[in-house]
Symmetry: C2
Subunit: 246 residues, 2 copies
């Protein structure tokens, strides 16, 4: 099974770091607030963060009262930054792919993952392992690229008017699941497209109860400050789910 580690690619890493450092980006405006809105009270919880990257969320969880956080990431370069910038006695960073979750010992109250699972081929396997790692009643809260977004399989994403404004998304192959190759700082970043129904059924089949789903959209206030975000009405970037262990 391919375990993709694009984040250790020098070009990708630098491009990605610059994007995340920008004052406004889609993560900061939409994905992170939506993710945190789905979290329970973290006081005293043990938390596992899948694809923790620079470790900002791990640090944030501790600041909100978590008892213990384990952050895993396939990229050593990302974890170097995490250890340098977001260390804490209650945080452990582990360099491993999330396909190897069965090697983790212990149980958690909460598993979180921010924009990482769409890089994983065997989503069902990962979800099953997450279920095993959770205490009864435990929560899995995660974000991924929206299926309307991951379906993209080449060609122009958008149709534009003569002024370059986006009129509509060119949606194709939503019903064809599996690998997608795309360019994002570097060539051949592999993502995996799954339909909404497949995502829901995979969680349910593993023993999860779907509690809430968010596809973030800009409100009037947001549109006043960031008018370009209106394109989200045509193409939701993110999908966030909170699911609980039966």
């Amino acid at each position: 099974m391919a375990k993709q580690n694009i984040y250790d690619n020098e070009v990708f890493f630098e491009g990605y770091k610059k994007l995340r450092d920008r004052e406004f980006n889609a993560n900061k405006l939409f994905e992170i607030p939506a993710l945190f809105s789905l979290l329970p009270d973290l006081t005293g919880l043990t938390i596992l963060d899948l694809g923790c990257g620079f470790g900002e969320h791990c640090k944030g969880f501790i600041e909100r009262g978590a008892a213990k956080v384990v952050g895993i990431d396939i990229s050593e370069k990302m974890l170097e930054v995490a250890k340098a910038e977001n260390s804490a006695p209650k945080i452990t960073y582990l360099n491993m792919p999330m396909e190897d979750l069965d090697k983790i010992e212990g149980k958690f109250d909460l598993v979180v993952s921010s924009l990482a699972v769409h890089y994983v081929d065997d989503f069902a396997g990962v979800v099953k392992n997450i279920h095993n790692l959770l205490n009864p009643g435990g929560l899995f809260v995660y974000s991924q690229e929206n299926p309307i977004n991951t379906s993209h399989s080449g060609g122009d994403r958008w149709t534009r008017d003569e002024n370059g404004n986006k009129i509509h998304l060119n949606l194709a192959n939503y019903g064809v699941e599996g690998e997608r190759e795309s360019e994002w700082f570097v060539d051949n970043v592999k993502k995996y497209h799954r339909m909404f129904s497949t995502i829901v059924n995979t969680l349910v089949d593993a023993g999860f109860i779907i509690e809430k789903m968010i596809e973030p959209m800009p409100d009037d206030e947001m549109l006043k400050q960031h008018p370009d975000q209106k394109d989200l009405f045509h193409k939701p970037d993110f999908l966030l789910i909170r699911a609980s262990k039966k």
Copy 2:
């Protein structure tokens, strides 16, 4: 609240009846098999069918062992056909909109609805009433137009190549929920678009557990017989959900 009764429009009724009578249509190929695949063993169950139309499903439920079926429809013309063609002692047909479910007495083991809820503005209200009408552990199994389908808000649905083949769906306003006017045999058929997340959250908030979701796609066998159905990969027509009462 508008309760839409397009099916009593003479032109619509005739056009719709012809479509349903065709040997192959999207309902017969995809929607009906998917709907029935989500049903439990019907032996001895009491069933409510929302938007029962011509009553074929009501009759089918009795043939599969249901103890009692109530079929409701807003259209008297549809129910006239139902009573003439699909009567049975165990079936009761009621002429009423599904927005008035609170007027129905008794409890049911199963509520079914085939391609009707996307005509309803107050989905949350309907779902709440369905939950009230179900026995504990009861099921709500329904189909609707897929959100990728209902999002359409005017203009060309498709971009085609020079030979007229569909290349991609022109997807716009997925994130803008609410009323859509479209032409389907007659002008101004009103449908209501809701995002996947809204549908899921509405069911969960009413006290349902999502058990399974289907977005029907053609398999190789189907494509051999009906090659034009490949367009479903770009635009799923249907969404089906089985949810249980907590």
